[in-house]
């Protein structure tokens, strides 16, 4: 009887935990579809502590990496410097000419005014860790809700699009990388304006699915965000096409993309402190629902 009781207790525990896991996955999927999850206080605090620990663990590695970058990896920097100086002077000259042309056409002040309205505030943030599972691609960084970070905000680096914030606690947040299998971004070929979906494959490259008819994508083409998915702003650099599959008699063609961002060397990212229109709509409706729930119900006659 004792043995039976123990087995029964274990079976009940397993059933309860399996039920918890299934319900969690379904509700988390819904939360992700609605733009991400804001972690509750207790869980968020636990995650913040873990991220602080990760930061401490990575300190020696950061130090070594820094020494390497600043002292040991400087071979060829002189040559690169000369090349970059030449490029800067060329760009400065070009910039000056363009400014002159704009001033001459009297549109510079108008453009400066417009830019203020369009500019999205950026929050610089340091990465503190990668994904605790090898089958997912995400990063955590040291800015959270206290700094204005919310789920659904795009994350970029100076090279291009990095991903999307999917979970935020008070002092840290997690962003799903473009490389993750669950990531899908509406993209455009910069040259031909052909549209398609950029999907993560869980490895270091991406795939670009586009319709064969009318779609024109070649090796070397740059892919940028189209802005049509309502999540990412238009024009963020995603990557460059490295290969295009033979479509055969299929309607969909797939191109392989090398991401613009070197995810292996990513150290600092910028969170765009504004969600896309789709995310805003989702959150607005969610906030409306919350308000409706909080409001006292009127007695029905």
């Amino acid at each position: 009887m004792g043995d039976f009781g123990r087995r029964l207790r274990t079976a009940i525990l397993v059933a309860a935990l399996v039920a918890v896991a299934l319900v969690s996955m379904v509700s988390d999927r819904r939360a992700l579809l609605d733009g991400g999850r804001e972690l509750p206080w207790g869980v968020g605090a636990l995650v913040d502590v873990a991220r602080s620990l990760q930061k401490i663990i990575t300190l020696p590695m950061d130090f070594l990496g820094d020494r390497w970058d600043h002292y040991l990896a400087l071979v060829g920097v002189g040559e690169e410097n000369v090349h970059l100086r030449e490029r800067i002077s060329f760009l400065a000259e070009e910039n000056l000419q363009l400014r002159e042309a704009l001033v001459a056409s009297g549109r510079l002040a108008q453009i400066a005014e417009m830019r203020e309205g369009f500019e999205i505030p950026m929050l610089p943030s340091e990465l503190v860790g990668g994904d605790a599972s090898p089958w997912f691609r995400s990063v955590s960084f040291d800015r959270g809700r206290a700094h204005g970070v919310r789920s659904g905000m795009p994350v970029i680096s100076e090279d291009g699009l990095v991903g999307l914030v999917t979970a935020a606690s008070r002092y840290s947040a997690r962003a799903m990388l473009l490389l993750d299998r669950q990531s899908a971004v509406d993209g455009t070929v910069q040259r031909s304006r052909a549209r398609g979906i950029v999907r993560g494959r869980g490895v270091d490259d991406l795939e670009f699915e586009f319709v064969v008819r009318g779609g024109d994508a070649r090796v070397g083409d740059v892919i940028i965000t189209s802005g049509l998915g309502g999540v990412y702003p238009k024009g963020l650099r995603i990557g460059r096409i490295t290969g295009v599959s033979d479509p055969g008699d299929r309607l969909i063609q797939i191109a392989t993309i090398a991401p613009a961002v070197d995810f292996g060397r990513l150290e600092q990212v910028f969170v765009m402190l504004r969600r896309g229109p789709t995310m805003e709509l989702l959150y607005e409706s969610e906030e409306r629902d919350e308000l409706a729930e909080a409001a006292p119900s009127r007695p029905t006659s």
């Binding site: 999927r29 605790a132 599972s133």
Partner: protein, 178 residues
């Protein structure tokens, strides 16, 4: 209780460490320490209920520190614990090679289970893990399994009764003994 807490502490630290190292190493080259601890625990932990609870807790922590759906690691860690416990009863898992082969095989199955669960619940469509990344990760997990098992043995021995001295292969009578 003390052993459970010690293993929980060890597992939690291992998962945090794994997340930190993943910032530097390519994902397939990172051993899945949380997973390895759970499968090392399977044949070693005295109480099934206690072991399952630890596996579930470590799984939940992995969920919080990874991009998976909440509950995904929780579910698969429990399955891994169950599989390791059952295998520990049927097979002799002492020795480096058996431990490495067993951990490698289970790591491969674990990867496929993740792909299936992600496809089903996240609706991202089923995709086999990339073969090179898959094989590399399985090999890395296999290589680290004996080390992690030894560490689990040490922690269990330190925390209380020495479960590592229990034979991993148990012979149980199937019928009544006259």
């Amino acid at each position: 209780m003390k052993k459970g807490l010690a293993i929980l502490g060890m597992g939690a630290f291992a998962i945090v460490l794994q997340g930190a190292v993943a910032g530097f190493l390519s994902p397939p080259w990172c051993p899945d320490l949380g997973f390895l601890i759970v499968i090392a625990l399977g044949p070693r932990f005295a109480s099934s209920a206690g072991g399952i609870s630890i596996a579930a807790t470590l799984g939940y922590l992995s969920d919080l520190l990874s991009g998976s759906l909440l509950g995904q690691h929780l579910l698969l860690r429990m399955l891994a614990f169950g599989a390791a416990r059952r295998a520990g009863r049927q097979l002799d898992l002492r020795g480096l090679l058996p431990q490495a082969v067993f951990a490698g095989s289970l790591s491969g199955l674990n990867a496929l289970a993740f792909a299936v669960v992600t496809a089903f619940f996240a609706g991202s469509g089923f995709g086999w893990p990339a073969p090179r990344a898959f094989l590399t990760h399985v090999a890395v997990d296999a290589a680290f399994a004996p080390l992690v098992a030894a560490a689990v043995d040490r922690v269990l021995a330190w925390a209380g009764e020495d479960d590592s001295s229990r034979p991993l292969m148990r012979f149980e009578p199937r019928g009544k003994i006259a």
